[in-house]
Symmetry: D3
Subunit: 63 residues, 6 copies
Amino acid sequence: MPIVRVEMLEGRSLEQKRELVAVYTRELARICGCSETSITVVIEDVAKHNWASGGQLLADKKP
Amino acid sequence: MPIVRVEMLEGRSLEQKRELVAVYTRELARICGCSETSITVVIEDVAKHNWASGGQLLADKKP
Amino acid sequence: MPIVRVEMLEGRSLEQKRELVAVYTRELARICGCSETSITVVIEDVAKHNWASGGQLLADKKP
Amino acid sequence: MPIVRVEMLEGRSLEQKRELVAVYTRELARICGCSETSITVVIEDVAKHNWASGGQLLADKKP
Amino acid sequence: MPIVRVEMLEGRSLEQKRELVAVYTRELARICGCSETSITVVIEDVAKHNWASGGQLLADKKP
Amino acid sequence: MPIVRVEMLEGRSLEQKRELVAVYTRELARICGCSETSITVVIEDVAKHNWASGGQLLADKKP
């Protein structure tokens, strides 16, 4: 049932994604009382030139 | 007016997408009584390393 | 796996929603070769004062 | 930066939501190396008559 | 073509929404060279108990 | 707080995106009375073969 969508800057490793979906699925099932098999997690990698905060593209912000 | 968003694993052919958007537009117009020209369908191709079900990335599941 | 999201003006009947999710699930499974049980359809009812086309809220457009 | 969106059946308590957003924020910051203050979590409560799985509205499924 | 989605805390007036969709449509058409009639803007009003920043629900933050 | 999402055909320049996020942030802050630093804008570039209007993929429409 539940769908979790994580939008974040591109560049995270497969290992980070693996751990994130496992922890998010386990904790949502524990807290909200649903089965782990019913949970979908979708990750969206966003490029710096497609994400702005405070009116400025992250691609234009000094690291 | 209506917006339909289809998120699915990447890899479907142009032909499948062509048929899907035609059928989805026709059936939504028929069932919900709106004009076909008012319907937008957006397809999102999701990579296996960005989709998890049951706490596991599809990239890690045996085919 | 696939997630279908339909955003449309509020006011459709339960019967219309019932038929829409059944047809959308059947046709997506047929066209894209996935199982019907793996398909999720989410409907979002949008109020006229929250939807604009051509720069005008639908709540402000003459019927 | 990261935006987490959780869509689930309506009916969870404020307490469950409080715990979920705290855990999701902490774990995302830990796993993906970003600050907790940069993380937004949005919860969408979905009615049973707007969610279908396997072609059937949850409102029509026997509990 | 373009779809703009604005998620913000519930409580904005109809007048604010009217101005926002008009300005957003005009500016997107001007900057990105598309017709105003092709632009859809959808507003999502989010309750304070469904929005968290920094791990805390806005409903729990002191005003 | 507010999150603005713009889905449009791929191909816009970095310059167009830069101007769009600056104008959208400034105008949303002005109209809805929130701080510019609290506003996130995410742009999604959509391919012509993933966008359909009136039941036809844009990739299949004559320019």
